[in-house]
Symmetry: C2
Subunit: 253 residues, 2 copies
């Protein structure tokens, strides 16, 4: 579908097209289309823009990624469908590590996603989690819990966009700093992660990248100052209050 750029919901409709396309090409499972719809509603409720609360989480996340020794970006079907190029840009500013983690893991989908990243692997991206996922996240069932040794398994900071709650919680239990990106402020992922960015992927990943670039010029003490006093529960409350206020002040006629 061709959507004119002037359409007030242009970006939202463009993302919907990307999701349908990824489903047709085999990158995305059927459940991924329904999940995208759930996200669309939350994005609509926060106003389809990056809130002040989200921007704060983005800054803290950028500082944590710069401070990390082995930061890893975890991607799944939906995140690849929506923001593959944006993840590659961010990974290039870090150690280049992107790890594939599929909720419905099939060899066919693994291969499709590998194809999507093919040109980036030559450009410096280290794609993990497919041929080398021989470690296991404790407490997560076999296929969903597969991770690579040099990637998520030994990471200290993991960026998990559109993660499922079980897995996010298990990564926290492993002692990792988990940065979630999730439009649902009530999800278990949002509540259990260390930092939750309640924002849409294609909007927030370029912002994280921008702050990572800026923060790489700072020293450790300055970075720790950005990170200190972050309260994820307060972050989620701020988003919920914002949605709540929007819902009761909207013009219905």
């Amino acid at each position: 579908m061709m959507v004119p750029e002037s359409h007030p919901r242009y970006k939202s409709l463009l993302n919907r097209d990307r999701i349908v396309e990824a489903f047709e090409s085999g990158v995305l499972a059927k459940g991924g289309m329904i999940a995208h719809g759930r996200g669309e509603t939350f994005d609509y409720l926060i106003g389809e823009s990056t809130t002040d609360a989200a921007l704060n989480s983005i800054k803290v996340s950028a500082a944590l990624l710069v401070l990390a020794e082995n930061p890893v970006i975890s991607v799944n079907g939906n995140s690849v469908a929506l923001a593959k190029d944006e993840f590659v840009e961010l990974a290039k500013e870090l150690n280049g590590k992107i790890e594939v983690n599929l909720f419905y893991r099939t060899t066919e989908r693994e291969e499709k996603i590998k194809d999507v990243f093919e040109s980036d692997i030559n450009g410096g991206i280290v794609l993990l989690g497919i041929d080398n996922a021989d470690k296991q996240i404790p407490g997560i069932d076999h296929l969903r819990g597969k991770v690579s040794e040099s990637g998520i398994y030994t990471s200290d900071v993991v960026l998990v966009p559109l993660e499922d709650g079980d897995r996010a919680e298990a990564l926290v239990k492993m002692g990792k700093t988990v940065i979630a990106i999730d439009l649902n402020p009530l999800s278990r992922t949002a509540r259990k992660s260390t930092i939750s960015i309640i924002d849409e992927l294609t909007r927030c990943i370029p912002l994280i990248t921008e702050y990572v670039r800026e923060y790489k010029k700072m020293d450790r003490a300055e970075l720790l100052k950005i990170v200190e006093n972050y309260d994820n529960e307060e972050n989620l409350r701020n988003i919920l209050n914002l949605i709540s206020k929007r819902l009761t002040s909207v013009d219905l006629i």
Copy 2:
């Protein structure tokens, strides 16, 4: 997927399975899967139960359907996927008329939906809108605006579950009483329809049927009493206030 009945979100997961199944059988378009996800979020926000405000709309709708001279139930891919049997039960208590209206109308999907209703047609259901959709809703583009003469075109009360906003608004402009079922209290459908039931289909259709059965024993004056003083804007405000309250009082930890 087999979901145990004891699962706290059993009905929601069962509906998700129905949606995927309908997509696989060709009843549902890809856009219908994303739309279902949007609805899931709103259902989650209202608490996955019929609110007092929704129950009030349901009662008023049942009275209007009993009072109607030519009530018609309009169905699309999503509503057939989720609640075909429930619609048939309701139609049997009325004049039996169900009219198919597809956002993405193709001959193939029309045939699939006709197949789904095949046994009901012998059981007294009048399936309209496929072979006999030779009238047009003014202002709605050709395929989406197709309606049948004996059905929606000459109806006085139309039940439109999961309708798109344009079409709901055009039906109101034609002078019809439009009863929408939509989980999004902010949608144009919800705002522009005469009555908006903000509830999930498989929960509210059996309730409408129950009240229709009860109200058929009442006289016209009693029915008019149920209908009078209904205020749809107030109805939507009540739902928005409820969601808003839930969002700010939720336990995050």
